[in-house]
Amino acid sequence: MDSERTEEYLEAIYKEQNKGNPASTSFLARDLGVSQPAVTNMLKNLENKGLIDYKSSKGATLTDTGVEKALGVIRQHRLWERFLTDILGMKWDKVHEVACKLEHLDVPEVEERLAILLGDTDTCPHGHAIPDKDGNIKAEKAIPLINFNPLQRVNIIAIDESDSGLLRDIEKKGLKPQVIITIKKKNEDGSLEIEAGKKRIRLNTKQAEALLAESIALNKSATKEEITLSKLDAGYSGILKEYTGERNLLGRCLSLGFTPGSVVKMLENYNSGPVLVKVHDTAVALGRDLADHITVTRNGTA
């Protein structure tokens, strides 16, 4: 369909423009898999509609209307990606392609309800910001990991999602948005050695380019409310912080998966008697005494 095509062009131009360059004809031809003359044709068409400014020597940039339209598509794309991973349980390397199809659905009510269903998520599974419904988007300050230097501590913000093989490799290394890493060594070719969670990881040049990160000093982490597990209401989930109870029960708690950083979802809590939680995929009953000695940070409904 014509409008679908238009949306894809706008999206591609937006992404390129966001990196600071106008989108050249050759770039668009490669990215969208069409011939250069076809691109030129389409760009002229878009210019006529007032969506882009086009100079054949430099390339295309979006007009304000164009930006608005592109953000609308991007919003839908990223919401759908979230839906596919969080609700349908798909892997993050598969969702980009599916979302490329779904983003053109463009039914305002579906978009609105999708946003409600997903709650307060503000990034796609790969870490890119989702524009709000008025077309505002948080500026992406993250830069490719390859630009950082040894000893810098950085927070991974996002990952370029276009190559699903690359995504799988990165996932296998245990890297995802919000993982904090330290650059240990930078090689001539741009490949990196980093440390995450006390573990050494090697990244090749391609991976180091695809990972977008922010220096840790710039990233103000919001302090979240900390409560005991026994105070978490049913239906809510939290991230386990620490166990403060008797040492002799620590081993049992750990082997059942109550490790710091684990997501704990409260299934049943009647404010007296034991609680029932879900941790690492299994339901576990905990005496109230024990739940009183485990602290979590609230994580919203899951």
């Binding site: 969080d86 609700i87 349908l88 349980g89 798909m90 892997k91 799988r168 996932e171 296998k172 290394k173 245990g174 440390e195 969670g197 006390k198 573990k199 050494r200 620490e242 166990y243 008797e246 040492r247 002799n248 029960l249 620590l250 081993g251 049992r252 708690c253 750990l254 082997s255 059942l256 998966g257 490790t259 710091p260 950083g261 684990s262 299934l267 049943e268 009647y270 007296s272 008697g273 034991p274 029932l276 690492h280 995929d281 299994t282 339901a283 576990v284 009953a285 905990l286 005496g287 109230r288 005494d289 024990l290 899951a302």
Partner: protein, 664 residues
């Protein structure tokens, strides 16, 4: 390859967490060839069995279900000691595909011991129902371990598993490059430092690095062993280093779970989120403080209904047709001296009879029990009652054995095996005899009816409530003063509900019944013979026998409760079986059962009748119960303690009741 394994016998250990269907896998592999015993020096059940596969004989050892190999419990210590000390040829890790994340933790620990490892990925069907997709090939590739998908409840994949075991055995040990967890340089440094403080002699038979890690993880058993072996100086420097690195336990576990998460990312797709599983939906009702209790009550009513409507008639039939008829046959047709006839009829036959008539009821209780375990309900019952049970120092899981005690104390005591905290289990065992069983209730009903007319029902109920109050008080006393050790907090997995497997229920029922006959049968039989001898010696008349002498000797004590020597003898005879009270009274008073009520009225006043009911309900447990306590606690200490305690409790309470009632 084939020449090497001609006619070989190998040992295969099954390791796995609870609720992975490990025992189902074991039962399928070994069928009835299994041997049930105890781990040396432990009250934990040990099951072994044999599988033959062309030239290869596999001795299968079912390790206790454990989440990890750190000794947090007797089970975990047994499992890891077996793996390290006995060095099984192949280890099969049975995992639940529906909770792979939890189960891979154990794999992480098993890899550290570098055995020949095969993974049996069980419950593939349940995982699918839950909407989880597990990529078996990817998992196998990532771990570099054979992974065999199976559905044990449907008997699928067992042959493939056996083939994999055989194939794994054909590989030289250590030829597979198992991917050990990388703990990162910092943690590794700490582990290495601890290992440096140790030497091989100190840690034998455990590997040195492994021992170092367990010390850091806070493993009490390893810690005790090392501190015991180390020189003073060595142990103090070790201790202070471990204390400094107290958080290492958390770090190590966290890194293991991070490893698990990485595995999961590669191999499993999560189910759609919006979907609430059937288990979760049932649990909303079954674990609710009100509806949950209601369901528990319903389940218990069903069990008792089943036992009473099927078990009691069978029990009666056995009694009439087997025990009584052989009794009559011996007395009437056997040509032998009186004492031989007496020994046969009243000693041996009635002893065997007691064991025999127990069996239908026991089997039904065992079957109901196995059913609830298999379906996954026991954990819910424990959840609902945990709060109350906890106040008595008991575990939520204590509730089922205790309630079963109303039917018969014996299966109740055997049923305490589901309680994993040893302390709560002991407390439950000690409290169970204070639950009035059906036999005791029968005696109470009859005597109350004889004395209290219309009020009998209230008196009977009153006595039962009184007995339960005594139970609560005893629980509080034992919890605080008698049984040592730490209070155990509730921490248990609630398994997914699943359809019961009749084959497994049948097998478990059979095993428990055989175990009961073997363990308790002999004790019951010998006590029956002894009591018979006491009633026979010296001249064959119970009225002048040793037993009556004992009764007469106890008469002064009896008088304090308003009881004559006949009543005391009747009470003593309830040791064999509670319902014997009535039979003995019948013999002693010379009358037949019909006249017993009238006879009782001449011997007792309402006050002494009340005292008798009290002493009867609290009196020492029957011999079958004592035998069960002995076999479950593995020592005579606790059965003797129970006898002494209940002897004192019953007499003191009866005296108090009689003295007060007499004044009214």
């Amino acid at each position: 390859m084939t020449e090497k394994i001609n006619e070989r016998t190998i040992t295969v250990a099954l390791a796995g967490a609870p609720n992975t269907g490990k025992s189902t896998v074991f039962n399928l592999l070994t069928g009835l060839s299994q041997h049930v015993g105890n781990w040396p020096g432990k009250t934990v059940e040990q099951k072994t069995g044999i599988v033959r596969r062309s030239n290869l004989t596999m001795n299968i050892v079912d390790l206790p279900g454990t989440y990890s190999l750190t000794a947090n419990s007797a089970e975990e210590q047994i499992a890891r000691d077996y793996l390290i000390k006995e060095n099984p040829d192949v280890v099969v890790a049975v995992l639940n595909a529906a909770s792979l994340e939890r189960n891979l933790y154990l794999v992480a620990e098993l890899i550290e011991l570098s055995p020949r490892l095969v993974i049996a990925l069980n419950m593939m069907d349940v995982a699918q129902q839950q909407g989880m997709k597990v990529d078996v090939k990817a998992l196998s590739k990532e771990l570099n371990i054979q992974v065999i998908p199976i559905i044990a409840s449907k008997n699928q994949g067992i042959d493939e598993l056996l083939a994999a075991i055989e194939q794994e055995y054909s590989q030289p040990l250590g030829s597979r490059d198992l991917k050990h967890i990388e703990y990162g340089t910092e943690v590794q440094k700490v582990i290495d430092y601890v290992a440096q403080l140790l030497d091989d002699a100190m840690t034998a038979p455990y590997p040195k690095h492994w021992t170092a890690m367990k010390l850091l993880e806070g493993d009490t058993q390893i810690n005790k062993m090392i501190m015991g072996r180390a020189a003073d100086e060595q142990s103090s420097s070790l201790e202070s280093y471990l204390w400094e690195h107290e958080s290492a336990a958390v770090t190590i576990a966290t890194l293991r779970y991070a490893w698990v998460e990485k595995m999961m990312a590669v191999t499993q797709e999560k189910p759609p989120l919006g979907r609430v599983s059937l288990t979760e939906r049932i649990d909303r009702v079954a674990t609710h403080p009100i509806s949950g209790l209601f369901i528990l009550l319903l389940v218990l009513c069903l069990i008792f209904g089943l036992v009473y409507s099927i078990g009691l008639p069978i029990q009666k039939l056995l009694e009439v047709h087997l025990v009584e008829s052989s009794h009559t046959f011996v007395s009437a047709h056997l040509n032998a001296p009186t004492w031989v006839k007496g020994l046969l009829a009243n000693g041996i036959i009635s002893g065997v009879g007691t064991v025999l008539t127990f069996i239908p009821i026991l089997m039904l209780f065992f079957a109901a029990w196995a059913f609830m375990e298999d379906v996954g309900y026991t954990a819910r019952a424990a959840f609902v009652t945990d709060k109350f049970m906890h106040s008595l120092g008991l575990h939520g899981k204590s509730v089922l054995p205790l309630v079963l005690g109303f039917g018969c104390n014996v299966p109740a005591i055997l049923g305490t095996r589901i309680i994993d905290s040893p302390r709560s289990r002991l407390l439950t065992i000690l409290l169970t005899p204070l639950i009035p069983c059906t036999a005791r209730m029968a005696v109470i009903t009859l005597i109350a009816a004889a004395f209290f007319g219309n009020a009998a029902i209230f008196v009977s109920i009153g006595i039962i409530i009184f007995s339960l109050i005594m139970l609560v008080i005893t629980g509080l006393i034992m919890n605080h003063f008698v049984v040592g050790g730490e209070d155990s907090a509730l921490l248990m997995e609630l398994p997914l509900y699943h359809l019961p497997n009749p084959k497994i229920i049948g097998l478990v029922t059979w095993q428990n019944t055989v175990a009961f006959i073997k363990r308790a049968g002999t004790i019951i039989l010998s006590v029956s013979v002894i009591i018979w001898m006491l009633s026979f010696i010296p001249n064959g008349d119970i009225n002048t026998s040793l037993l009556s002498s004992i009764g007469k000797f106890l008469e002064p004590l009896g008088r304090l409760m308003g009881l004559n020597w006949q009543m005391m003898v009747a009470l003593l005879s309830s040791f064999i079986a509670k319902e014997n009270t009535l039979a003995t009274l019948g013999t002693l008073t010379g009358g037949q059962g019909v006249a017993l009520t009238a006879q009782l009225k001449t011997m007792l006043t309402p006050a002494s009748a009340l005292a008798f009911l009290v002493v009867q309900v609290l009196f020492i447990p029957c011999v079958a119960t004592v035998a069960a306590i002995r076999s479950e606690t593995k020592t005579w200490r606790w059965p003797l303690f129970t006898i002494a305690y209940q002897l004192v409790l019953s007499f003191v309470m009866a005296i108090i009741v009689f003295q007060i009632a007499r004044l009214l």
